[in-house]
Amino acid sequence: MDLRTLTYLVVGASFALYIAIAFWTRAASTRDFYVAGGGVHPVLNGMATAADWMSAASFISMAGMIAFMGYGGSVFLMGWTGGFVILALLVAPYLRKYGKFTVPEFIGDRFYSRTARAVAVVCLIICSVTYVIGQMKGVGVAFSRFLEVEYDTGLYLGMVIVFFYAVLGGMKSITYTQIAQYCVLIMAYTIPVIFISLQLTGNPIPQLGLGSTLAGSDGYLLDRLDQVVTDLGFREYTTDVRLSSLNMVMFTLSLMIGTAGLPHVIIRFFTVPRVRDARSSAGWALVFIAILYTTAPAVAGMARLNLIETMAPEPGQHLVAEERPQWFRNWEKTGLLAFEDKNDDGRITYTADAAENELTTVDQDIIVLANPEIARLPNWVIALVAAGGLAAALSTAAGLLLAIASAISHDLLKGMVFPQITEKQELLASRVAMACAIAAAGYLGLNPPGFAAGTVALAFGLAASSIFPALMMGIFSQRITREGAIAGMIAGIGITLFYVFQHKGIMFIPGTAFLGATPPNWFLGIEPNAFGAVGAMVNFTVAFAVSSVTLAPPLAVRQLVENIRTPDHAPAAHDLELVIHDE
């Protein structure tokens, strides 16, 4: 069977599965729609969280980024996993105990203020929309590369699928389809690299293979990699620091606290039955994530080595252009790989020196996408990688869309504009909000705004500097006031946006950056993507300062904080009607 038919079959089967699951698990109430009825087993929720969390960027791009950054790419590995420790220890159990549906709802209750809730909704929508654009693009790209359909057609198809299960079933359907999507994506990710690890080192476990000796020699794989990259003039793979240690610490920290502040991840922990399930479920989520995240460095290192050995078959020799392998030719067609024989010697010179380098384009995504072909694996593995990439993008998109839809229907409509609507009306409203969110995300995927390139990094910076500190102060302090929290969120998100825009352009429009986008212009050498942690510190400082000069929160709020700190069902402050003072 040819590759194209096989890919259609595998992707088609996975889609049929998602739709079947959506039918079985339709939502009957708002509780089903927002939190899957609150009855998801912690291990299953962990699996769903892993799919929710691992986006097209994790699946398609991350290994490639590490392959070309070497040690410096570790910030993504530690940042995007370390955040789950914060989630499990500082966020998830308390918000699960609080026991309502959305993150802005908690912020509104804890800070006894509709304004605080509205600010949280705005922060949530900015983070989630910027993030979802990347997923929609991922869906379109995966379709166009593997199924050879137009990017637009691929995007529409993706929208229809998500529409189907997200609108029908809300969180309930999303949860169970995410579990299926996790299984698809993890198989697609690990199978190729198991074979590659076997070929290179004789060890089938990639995490061990990366630290092993190369098959048929007693030299270690990583030593060989260090040697070949330095021979070509690149910096040593295993020690290539990203700008500076301080920058790496700040970048890692920003990704960690951004992870712990992203609403679409937090709401997954509202779906488990008990507080202790929220704790263990975060552990299970990280187990399932770690399977991919500890494999990614092996994909990165091995693919980089394979790429270089293809480009330079013997030390000091360059690949003869006419002898380049078939996978090379295949990926040239997509524009992800390109060369230009600058010195007309019939060979492709690959070197760190930009003037002499003839491998002019190597897109980082190629590392994962071309992996099965480089290792000469059978066609069904390539088809599986296509289904895996789509599963990663769709599962994250669905989770984000639910966070957006529930913020609109539950926080804005029910919470602020029309508090008198019935549950049935709210359920309808949440479905309509979901449909609108999908349409908007699709539109933005078709017409990506100027800032689309920097979006995912921006989403983390914003979550880290606005939502995360508000949650921390809401849970761990009884003294932070409404005024303090609002001022803190605005200051945190404000300074982060300001820093990103001044170096990367206002709304990322080229030419509007009023300070340069190069390291000498950066505050303490911290790159814009790593600034969320600084924004968070500003948020904390402002919130504490303002709180110290404003009136302490009312008694009911202090009782709410007491109440979320223990798991038991003692008469709760939030069962009392909280008095909302502002307007």
Partner: protein, 88 residues
């Protein structure tokens, strides 16, 4: 499902926070410490083909993170039972 008196509640919270601080200390030592700040020194030591600092940054810290969460979940479940505040 007993409601705690104020003193017991404070004790429960104090023990929770002590545990959280200990675990977060380990969390920051393996990631920011071993993975970034002290990476050069640790790279002098080898773990098979891995330089140890590089291993912490790309493998070891993640394994430790997983262990920390399960340890916390287990300890807290025991603490909940001890104080009679588990949500059964």
């Amino acid at each position: 499902m007993s409601q705690l008196n104020e003193e017991r509640a404070r004790e429960y919270w104090r023990r929770n926070i002590t545990l959280v601080i200990k675990l977060l200390l380990i969390w920051s030592v393996v990631s920011f410490g071993c993975g970034i700040v002290f990476v050069d020194a640790l790279n002098e030591i080898r773990l098979g083909g891995y330089k140890l600092g590089f291993w912490f940054a790309q493998q070891g810290s993640i394994y430790v993170f997983v262990a920390l969460i399960f340890y916390y979940a287990r300890k807290m479940a025991a603490l909940d039972r001890e104080f009679g505040v588990d949500d059964e």
